[in-house]
């Protein structure tokens, strides 16, 4: 086992364990900070897939943006609820009518995933078979290819996303604006 494999398995283990802990942990603030660990190790895994641009974008968008916003939302909410979530009792039992929709949705999602997984055969996929020999080396400059592809082949999705973000920005500014007296 060479050092790349050791690092890869270590990162994957960190991602899995921390993601499980994020869900299972009672202390919400700590679980958010653990989410930081999950996202950061995910970025590491992207580097191993030679997707360094995706890895860095992951750090900028999720760690620098989304995570900080989530923490902000927590910090500005009631501390008592954060510290003992049991105080806001819904119902202690696992199988109740209250939990039924959630259980059904998660079960259906799980079944769909399992079905897809059982049907999935990597070797027979056409585009994977066709891409044999079409490999990247770590020193390749992927950013140029990405830029050219985004501005030519994927221009429409790219511009649509920009319009969507613009809409979100205008919406946020509108919500935050002071009501004008009439």
């Amino acid at each position: 086992m060479n050092i790349e494999q050791i690092v890869f398995y270590f990162l994957s283990a960190v991602v899995l364990v921390s993601a499980l802990l994020v869900v299972a942990m009672k202390n919400l603030v700590r679980s958010i900070f653990l989410f930081f660990l999950t996202l950061f190790s995910m970025a590491g895994l992207f580097v191993f897939a030679l997707a360094d641009f995706v890895a860095i974008t992951q750090v900028v968008v999720y760690v620098g943006g989304v995570l900080v916003l989530m923490i902000f939302a927590f910090l500005l909410s009631n501390r008592d609820i954060l510290n003992n979530p049991d105080a806001v009792k819904i119902n202690g039992k696992f199988l109740t009518a209250h939990h039924l929709p959630g259980l059904v949705v998660s079960f259906l999602f799980f079944t769909a995933l399992m079905f897809a997984f059982s049907q999935f055969q990597v070797d027979e996929l056409e585009w994977i078979a066709a891409s044999e020999g079409n490999t990247l080396s770590p020193s390749d400059n992927t950013i140029e290819l990405l830029g050219i592809n985004i501005m030519t082949r994927y221009l429409l999705p790219f511009e649509t996303i920009s319009v969507l973000l613009m809409l979100a920005l205008i919406g946020a500014a509108h919500l935050a604006r002071k009501e004008r007296k009439i």
Binding site: I3, N27, V29, R30, F33, F36, F40, D52, F53, I56, T57, V59, V60, V63, G64, G65, L67, V68, I71, F72, L75, L76, N141, T142, I143
Partner: protein, 356 residues
Amino acid sequence: MNPYFTYILIAVALFSFTAIFALFAVYAERKVSAFIQDRLGPMETGVYGSLQTLADILKMLQKELIVPAAADKVLFVVAPVIIFVSVYMGFASLPWGPGLIPASLNLGVFYVFAIISVESVGILMAGWGSNNKYSLLGALRSVAQVVSYEIPAGIAIISAVMISQSLDLQVIATKQGILSTEGAKFLGLWDVSGVGGFLAWNVFQAPHLLLAYVIYFIASLAECNRAPFDIPEAESELVSGFHTEYTGIRFALIFLGEYSMMFLVGMFGVLLFLGGWNTPLPNIGSFTLADWTTGTGWGVFWIVAKVLLVVFVQMWLRWTLPRLRVDQLMNLCWKVLTPLAFLCMLISGVWQLLVM
């Protein structure tokens, strides 16, 4: 030699550099502030107080590590490490001279920009973990400020990258001097790739980058939480903000992070705008000053000299300007710096199409 040994050696060298720089910078900061306020500053320990910060750090290392009873212990202990490591990781892709770069990434600019933003998570962690209202307020202010000022800084950086046509910091640095293979044009008119010197720096290749550099410099002050943008630490309001509860070596780590950040953002700006490790001396006729003063050793010298100058300006501003209020801070960021940065980006695009 085993490559892993080299990697570790480089990491240790960078760490010791940041530590020594922090010691030196704290001493310099106290002397600069003393000069500006017409005092003497530290004078007792060593010649002209030169051993003062060494004595301070020795004292700090011996202090008891106190964790407040009500604090979230895990977050409280981890936070200083994250703050320092995120800044320290930024040094990984900054070139020090021709052919001298710890990790040559073709996304260097983007990487440094990303890794700087991780620091805000550490600050939030410290503020929340301390379980102290002043710390929490300080952390909230700090992060709000860092997140806002990332936007003008990012756009100013993009306008420089558009001129250089690369995200690799080593390539960007090389293009601003006599080692450039594609030629550099002073003000877009006069090819100075043979002359070099300050004429080939990005700010002189495209003069609107001078404005972009000023925007970047102001935003970088805010990202370091330094005066005039030090509302997160505002001594008169919040004791000392998010690091109120820290003692001993943990406090030292936060401090080390802050001073390394000053050097990091300064070096990043120098690389993008002020010619990186290129010499400021041009070739004049048979006096080939630029040729004489280019090389690996000279590269390290020039970049350290330039960054120390920038750090000096940061200190100078800290001790001469009053602190901005929160609303003034946000006004400056969103109504002045961001539109100007967009203007710079626009000019960069036009410049790239019409002039270069």
